[in-house]
Amino acid sequence: MATIELKDLTKHYKQGATIVKAVDGINLTIESGEFVSVVGRSGSGKTTTLDLLGLLLRPTAGQIVLDGVDTGKLRDGARADLRAKKLGFIFQEFNLLSTLNAIQNVMLPLRYYKNGTDGKVRAAALLEEVGLKDRMHHRPDQMSGGEKQRVAIARSLINRPSLVLGDEPTGEVDSETSQQLIGLMRRMNREYGVTFVIVTHDMDIAAQTDRTIRLKDGKVLSDVRTDADQSYLTKLERGEGVA
């Protein structure tokens, strides 16, 4: 089953008298459970594409079909509901609430989407899975960048989403932490069957995903599936490179 279909997706901005074609007719299908990276230079349209996928922007033309739902026809409230139920977000700068501790941050999405009564139990389980069992009651200012991003990864999964979007999720941490985070995301992708789409400029990170989509001037330049023996799953089966 196709999770996401992008059909002639277009986003144009007016900037003074000129029109900026940030996204200019993208056609893509992302299957359920895929781990996809989107790469490209700055200005290539990768962030705009991610914002469109996250239902944070409305396209100028074209469609985004999420699990069979044409999102273009939905009102703002329904789009917010869809974000709450189906999407998870991970940001470069973590975007944790400084007033909340780790477990409260993980539970934040449940404030806007009540999904069962076991929220606290699930949040604790997720924090344990990302390796922060002992840091549950720490505030963000008491945590390292890698730890904060682990909290954000746990937060992105609390609502049992079908798609997690990452905007440069390893952009703020050192390369070792970055490897740990990508490993963690891959594990979550496999364990929960959640589709991941991450925007990155780091080719090492992109190389560890199933599929790399390269954008240029708002168009798809290349769409490459990683070789089977290079892929994470194969390595995992061989017992290599597991975070």
Binding site: L56, A80, A84, F89, N95, P109, R155
Partner: protein, 401 residues
Amino acid sequence: MEIIRNLTRRKLRNILTISGIVIGVLALVTMGAMAEKFNALLSGGATYFGSNVQVADSSTGGISAFGGGLLTLDRVAALEQVAGVAAAFPDISVSAKPGSTNTVSFGVPDYISNSDPRANDYSAFKIHLAQGREVSTTTNGEVVLGSDFATEFKKHVGDTIDLPIRATDAPPDFVNHTFTVVGILAKTQTAPDTGAYVNLTDAQMLLKETLPASIRASIDTSKLVNGATVYGKPGVDLDKLADKINAEVPGVKATKPSVLVASFNSGGAIFTAITTGAALIALVVGGLSVINTMLMAVTERVREIGLKKAIGAKVGDILREYLLEAVLIGGIGGAIGLLLGWGLTSLINAATASANLSLFLLTWRLVIVAILFSVGLGAVAGIIPALRASRMDPVQALRAA
């Protein structure tokens, strides 16, 4: 929980904003309590004087208790003969502190009056005993004290009190008499609180002593009173009764109750205007500082708002969170202001009780107004910042510096 933490995030700023509301509500509560006291004083008067016709000697204007010529008792008897009159009671009222230099008072100055327990059956304004019993009509030398009067002189049932009270600079011919306190009235917040009530015979004796010594001996005060209070039979229009008395009984002047009630009410309107003024100032000052604080909070938390929208918060969710925060600021300020106001008014009332001055009356309705006011202020002031937060574009908010 998050909202409370948000308030502690910028402690100084929020303390300052809350202080602004505290001052506003404090002003509202103290001014309001003063107005409530004054209104109670006036509404008691309006109730009492609205339910009877005040009759005085024809040379007097308005209420005989506040001075004027004397009336003879046979005139009071004549009043009872007028058709429509249910009862007429003679009134005597003399100052309880003659010659006292402290004459300007917030309220009715201490006075001594005659009391007839039967008047309570007719009057719309009921007076109740807190302790003891009424004065005897036949045994002289007994007194019932109003509650403030008793507090001022620290008297209880069974104590004795010399009336009128001797001033420190009393003239050598000043005389007073020892009375036994037989009862103390329940607090009314109005005129009876500062009164001392004796029987008619004792009141006439005290009235005689207020006359100049040169004419005192030549007058038989057992026939004289200051005025009379006339009660109508059920269903009788008191204004028309006053006209009828003026037409039928010579030498007296009956005042229409509607005239007296109107003069009481106009006094209350001034105080209500003062309270409203204080409330408006509090609204403007407190409201503006809440708006400012909340706008700053919204600006600081742009990314948080963007994140919340990304994870599914709707316009209404964000609106609610920020309004609640503003309401909380208003509510905390209001609660502290109310407590301070209560403390301040109680303290001042206690300090001035011995001077027979009760300035403030903190009523439940004022408490409710103050709470609703501060919470409502927060809500109104929070609207603009909350709208700004809720309408933020998530894409721009998330990437804000």
